[in-house]
Every structure is written in C-alpha cells, then in structure tokens.
C-alpha cells in the first residue's frame, strides 16, 4: 500500500515534467522542420545536429549563439540572410522554435 502511495506521488510530480518534456520535444521537432524546410537554414549554415554543411553564413556550432541572438537575427536578417520575421516568411511560433532548436543543438 505504501509503495502504491509513493508511486502515485512520483507520478503526480513527474506529470508536469512529462508535459514539459513533450512540449520541448514538439518545439524541437518544429524547430528542425523550420531549419530544414521552410527557412532552409542548412543551405547557408553548418550545424552538426542537422547534418547541414552550408558555407555562406557562420558555422553555428562554432558561433554558439544564445536563443535571443538567434531570434533577433532570424527576425531582422543580416547581410544576405533574409529578415524571416520582418518579411513574414516565418511566424513568431516558427521563429521561437527554430531559435530554440539552434540554441539547444549548439549549446549541449
């Protein structure tokens, strides 16, 4: 009976964690999808996690940008890099996701 109670307590405490992990996993999946397809980031950037080897912009594994830095540059662009946010190429949800994906993938 006591073991059962402990199990219930662990389950209750781990539930939000599970939700968070699932949410993060979904955000990472969307981020990867945006990286590979809609934004085609890999055509210009190296990122080991995505196996991309573009050589126009900086190597993201070396740059190791913060999530905020990625958001800003994806939103406003830089040089040949389009302003994905300002030009309406990506939604804010997609920008959040790809920024989270790039940050998480390069700052392990």
């Amino acid at each position: 009976m006591r073991i059962f109670k402990i199990f219930i307590v662990i389950l209750l405490f781990s539930f939000p964690l599970t939700i968070n992990l699932q949410a993060d996993s979904e955000k990472m999946a969307l981020g990867l999808d945006v990286y590979n397809n809609k934004a085609a980031c890999g055509a210009c950037h190296i990122l080991k996690a995505a196996a991309s080897e573009g050589n126009i912009g900086p190597n993201l594994d070396i740059l190791k940008p913060t999530e905020e830095q990625v958001k800003l540059i994806v939103t406003e662009g830089l040089g040949v890099m389009p302003a994905f946010g300002e030009e309406g190429i990506l939604t804010s949800e997609e920008i959040d996701a790809v920024s989270h994906y790039v940050f998480t993938s390069t700052n392990k």
């Binding site: 055509a43 991309s52 050589n55 800003l72």
Partner: protein, 407 residues
C-alpha cells in the same frame, strides 16, 4: 546524410535567397570550401580553432567570433605600424574564393565601365599598366560594435576589426585614363566582387557591390599585393579595390567590375545594409558607411597583457585621421580627467595610414583607466559613441579606454 538534408529543402520556399538559381548550385558551391577546425590552441582556452581557409594565420593573435568573423586581439595589432597578415581580422560577406575558383591569377579579369572606352583588363595587363604602393587602414564598419549597450546583430568587435596595410597595385586613375576618362554624367564609382557567383545566390541579395562618390577614384587603387605578398584569397585575392579612408566594405574583394554610374548600386549590401540609422529605424535614406572618422586606441598595456610593473610605463597605441592626416593624440591615465600629449613614433606612411604614438608615464601601484583621444582634419574624437542601430562607426574615446592594474 548531408545530401539528404539538403535535398529535403523545399526549393519553392527558398526563392527569397536564390532568385532563379537552383538549389543544386548552392549545394555545389557550399561543398567547395568545407570549414573544419584546424587547431585549438587559443590562450583563453576556447576550443574555437581557425577555419581551413585561414589556417595560416596566428591563432593566438585572434579572437574567433565565428568562422566568418575573426578579430585581432587589441595587443596583437602590431607595434611596427603595419599589421602582419597573419594577425589581420577576417570579415567576409561571401565565402572566400578558392584557388580552383580563381584559376590562373594573372588571367583574373576586371571590367571597367562608365568610362569613354570600356575595357576588360587581366591582372597581367594591369601589372603592365601602372604600379604604386600605398598604406591604408582597413577597418570594418562595425569595429567597436561590442561596446554598444543595446543588442546589436553581428560580430561584437571591440578594437580588432582594423589593420594598417601596405598595398601594391595600380592607381585607379591610371586605369581610368587608359579607358579615356570617366563618363561626364557619372556620380559614383561602383565596385563589384564576384565571390557571390559560385554560391548561386541571387546577385541582388548576395553581390557585394559598393558605390562611393566618384572622386574616390583619384586616390583609389586596384591591389594585388598585401604587405609584400600576393593578396591572399581570404583578403580578396587576387585583386581588390582599395578606397583609402573609407570603411572596409567599400574595399571590394575578388574584384570583377568597376563602373562609374549615375546612381548608387541597388543590391542589398548597398541599398539597405551598412546604413547608419537611429536605433529602431532603418532604410536607404540613412548615410552609408563611407568615410571613417578620426579614432585612436591604446594597444599596450591593456587588460589582455596582465598586470603592469610599477615605474616607467610606455603607453602605446595607434591613431588615425580617417580622411585627413592625424595631427595629434592625447593620453589620459585617469579616465579622461586630465590629458597629456603623446609623441608620434615611426615613419609617416601618409594620411590614410595610422600613426603609432607613445606616452611615457611613471605609474605607482594602483588601478588606472587609460584613454587616448586623437585629432585631425579639425575634428577630435568625441567622448561618447554615436548611438546607431547596427553599431557602426564607433570612435568615442571612453568606450575604447582600458583598465590596467599596476603592482
């Protein structure tokens, strides 16, 4: 795996980048110059090494922001006027062209347009046409961006996106004269690189084409040698436009065309990039990064060189006048409360080069803020930076000061 990922990219969704070119072109281009970590010997224990295309540079002299943005340490800018090639910063908008892409260097072609008799010259022909040597300062428009308080996109350069370089090449005026002179209705000299071509990207977005006022051609040159060696590919070899007194971006690398035009180029790198606009604003109505302002900074001692022994200390730095000769430089050891005139040392290589300065100070143990303030062309460095959106053209002396500890 890599090809799989690249192939997954939806071609129809990426026309914002490539215009009409194919993705295969990009994939092919990106495979030409693979970047890999050559070494990892940095003093600050950073694992960031130098990319292959500049593996010949001195890693210990450089701060690697990214494989495309590499800065010279404040203390490694060179104390003999000229910055050694192995210490010079890297800021390239397009990937450096490889030997294979460049081919026979003497057969490199540059077209001259907007002149009475438009011509195309090979590098070998240019070498027969004329010859000159000149020292100029190469400085990225964003040098000093790292001092801005607001969040600015781009490499966070402090002082090291700058170098003093001796160029050898042909005066632009000689080239123009060989073409019968500039068209009478021209207003700008517009230089274009060809380093975007192997990438297959849309030239409107990727071509580095810069317009400067027409008058610049009278002092400009087409350079094929940099500090005594053939112009390295990483610095725009085999041929580069040199626009003395103008920010680095106007010194177009891998030069393919110089045209005298009625209007400014409409490519992105001219129309919207490199515009000095207020924070929160942007647009082609704002001034372009053209003429460099008067500026100086201390290169020794610095916080990079460790504690300083009490007694006589040589405070050394570099000072530039921008478009005019630098006339004087003052140094402060108390954060700008009092100033003493420093002494210029070494040869004067002309108004477009920097001068080195030194002030001997007797320093007791304690903490000091060292600052320098240059004057030239009737202008003196301001105390504060000119706030602007992209962190360009910073020449305020306060941010460029250094804190040292004397023991």
């Amino acid at each position: 795996m890599k090809k799989g990922i690249i192939k997954k990219i939806d071609n129809s969704k990426r026309n914002f980048l490539t215009g009409s070119v194919t993705l295969a072109g990009v994939a092919a281009a990106t495979s030409v110059l693979p970047i890999s970590i050559a070494n990892a010997n940095h003093k600050d224990s950073s694992p960031k090494g130098l990319p292959d295309f500049i593996s010949w540079k001195d890693r210990n002299a450089l701060i690697v922001h990214s494989d495309k943005g590499i800065e010279t340490h404040r203390s490694a800018i060179g104390e003999s006027l000229i910055t050694p090639n192995r210490n010079i910063y890297i800021r390239n908008n397009m990937p450096t062209m490889s030997d294979t892409q460049i081919g026979d260097r003497n057969n490199w072609k540059v077209s001259i347009k907007g002149v009475k008799n438009p011509k195309t010259f090979s590098l070998a022909q240019l070498k027969k046409l004329g010859h000159t040597t000149m020292a100029t300062i190469l400085q990225c428009s964003g040098n000093g961006r790292g001092f801005f308080a607001h969040e600015v996109r781009g490499s966070q350069w402090k002082t090291g996106a700058a170098a003093c370089v001796v160029w050898t090449g042909v005066p632009m005026k000689v080239v123009v004269d060989a073409c019968g002179g500039v068209d009478s209705d021209a207003v700008f000299m517009t230089s274009a690189g060809v380093d975007h071509e192997p990438t297959g990207l849309d030239p409107k977005k990727a071509k580095v084409e810069r317009s400067v006022p027409k008058k610049v051609y009278k002092d400009a040159m087409l350079a094929w040698e940099m500090n005594g060696v053939p112009l390295p590919n990483a610095h725009g070899g085999p041929l580069r436009m040199v626009t003395p007194g103008y920010f680095g971006i106007n010194n177009v690398k891998h030069l393919g065309q110089v045209a005298f035009t009625k209007t400014e180029s409409t490519v992105k790198y001219m129309k919207s990039s490199y515009r000095i606009s207020p924070i929160g604003k942007k647009g082609s109505q704002y001034p372009s990064c053209w003429e460099m302002p008067v500026k100086s900074w201390i290169t020794r001692p610095t916080d990079e060189t460790g504690t300083v022994k009490a007694g006589n200390v040589q405070i050394v730095g570099v000072a530039m006048g921008g478009m005019k000769k630098v006339r004087s430089v003052k140094v402060s050891i108390d954060g700008g409360q009092s100033w003493k005139k420093a002494k210029f040392v070494g040869p004067d290589l002309g108004k477009y080069a920097w001068r080195q300065f030194v002030l001997e100070a007797n320093l007791a143990p304690g903490s000091y803020n060292l600052a320098s303030k240059a004057s030239g062309g009737g202008k003196t460095q301001p105390e504060l930076r000119m706030e602007n959106r992209r962190g360009y053209a910073h020449n305020g002396w306060k941010d460029h000061s250094v804190n040292i500890k004397v023991v």
